[in-house]
Symmetry: C2
Subunit: 282 residues, 2 copies
DNA sequence: AACCGGCGATACCTCACCGGTATCGCCCCA
DNA sequence: TGGGGCGATACCGGTGAGGTATCGCCGGTT
């Protein structure tokens, strides 16, 4: 099975429309139709159901969609990491670390300082992204290593070391009547009248239905809380980049959050090993 | 990057010889040389160092070797699992479970019975293999789910659930002077004069250097022990398929062995979920 | 009921590129 | 200095990927 065929199939399977898929791929529709037919013939498997007016996935088709996406990510990762390895020989970015924007900031800066002081340390690029995007970046090779936060992020499929564990705090508008409490319970802060929890985008970039404002990063969220339009429960360390307009109150029964450093399991890079060693020594 | 190019590069990188690689791929040498050159040109990266008389990998080349092997496994997995999904619709093997030959036998049969009794259970094929081969089979799609034994097998890169934990016992020839002891320590059984630990093949099929007979599975090992040519330390449950010629003695300070059920993290199959549920209920 | 429009499949053509054979150039070694 | 092993180059033929034009089917509209 060739990568080209996989890319074509994944495009059609995601769009469920040959015309749009062809457009997205930058080719005409007839070659796309033929390529999919040929793939089905070579596999000996029907992947798509074309009853006129609609294209749907067969059972085998949805398996190939999932597995094909994973395989394409792996191929992209091979491409990107190879290019990066070649650049690294000439000096440039040795490792790319990805973390959620606005999370674990002081841990991250300590880590970067500690690692940079090591002999043989390479340059580390830091990539910030929204929640849930890190796994993808790690899988498709745009990043080599990530700071993840369990239980929000899953470390399944990666190798990981735990770095630290912390409780969570509620973030409330400064004048809110609960802002003065010494501590709260989850039941106190879920469904606060007029202060809904925000909605984060899913892996596909769309927002789930429901109440609450749509946010893309912590800065947006804090602004909305300061405006009295939302509330949130976040790990303690986010306090360091909050200012006077919001209050933080520990939430006793919120799940604890563990920060871990994670990387693809087949990495055998010297640089990555050094960074992980530095992290576990913090 | 196309799958064909990756396969070609991996062959050359493993053989470090264009002629042999071409032979292994079933093509002539000149097209192979050209394909590699083109890959290097497209990536803009030197992958191989050809000083006359020897081919060696560059730093970027070894990155592409590792990442490329992982990517090819993922592509193979997509192919195999798609074909299997299509067969499953017509009734045949719904899941392939792989485990080390001769390990966790009664646990496995209980698991298969429990699962088979569930409504909607599909047929489960059992694949037996040597130690260290399971991860590979899971990665390239020849298997869907595995019984692994920590700490011998690594579950890195997979999703897993723990099933049970057990101590280890020394396996000795029936008449051995330590066979009557109530228990032993690791120090007692490592380097027994005339009873070396066996050597198992590595992932590449070759055996490490050193003393001790080469073995490929538990049956061979037990036979060698009964003949007084080897000894071993294995999880307790292996007792059930031993016979009179060998003795087992608990080893108090051997690491405990945890049997886990593991599967590729992006699986979303209903059948797999049912099997895992059955396993955790045992 | 007839027509129109959207969509996937088919027909047919062109050209890139993949693979094969023959041969070269280089270098180690006898 | 000549031979042999090895990778690169030159050249050729066939497969197949992609493009354009068009068909066939079906559903909704008037």
């Amino acid at each position: 099975m060739e990568t080209r065929e996989l890319r074509y199939f994944v495009a059609v399977a995601e769009e469920l429309h040959f015309g749009r898929a062809a457009q997205r791929l930058g080719i005409a529709q007839p070659p796309l139709s033929r390529a999919i037919q040929q793939l089905e013939r070579r596999l000996g498997v029907a992947l798509l159901e074309r009853n006129s007016r609609a294209v749907t996935l067969t059972e085998a088709g949805s398996v190939l969609l999932r597995e094909g996406q994973a395989a394409l990510d792996a191929v992209d990762a091979a491409d990107r990491r190879t290019r990066r390895a070649a650049l690294a020989e000439t000096g440039q970015p040795g490792l790319v670390l990805v973390t959620k924007a606005g999370a674990s900031n002081e841990l991250l800066s300590k880590l970067l300082d500690t690692y940079a002081a090591e002999p043989g340390a390479v340059t580390v690029d830091v990539l910030l992204c929204g929640p849930g995007e890190q796994e993808r970046l790690l899988r498709d090779g745009r990043a080599d290593v990530a700071l993840l936060h369990r239980p929000f992020d899953s470390t399944v499929g990666f190798d990981a070391e735990e770095l630290c564990t912390e409780g969570q705090v509620a973030i409330l508008p400064a004048g809110h009547h609960l802002a003065g409490r010494a501590h709260l319970r989850m039941a106190d802060v879920t469904a606060l009248p007029g202060l809904p929890m925000p909605r984060w985008p899913g892996p596909d970039g769309t927002y789930p239905d429901g109440p609450g404002p749509q946010v893309r990063d912590h800065a947006q969220l804090v602004q909305l809380i300061a405006l009295g339009r939302a509330s949130a429960v976040l790990p303690e360390n986010c306090r360091v980049h909050l200012h006077g307009d919001v209050a933080t109150v520990p939430v006793l029964d919120a799940p604890t959050v563990t920060t871990v450093i994670a990387w693809p399991p087949h990495s055998r890079s010297q640089a990555l090993a050094g960074l992980v060693r530095a992290a576990t020594r913090l």
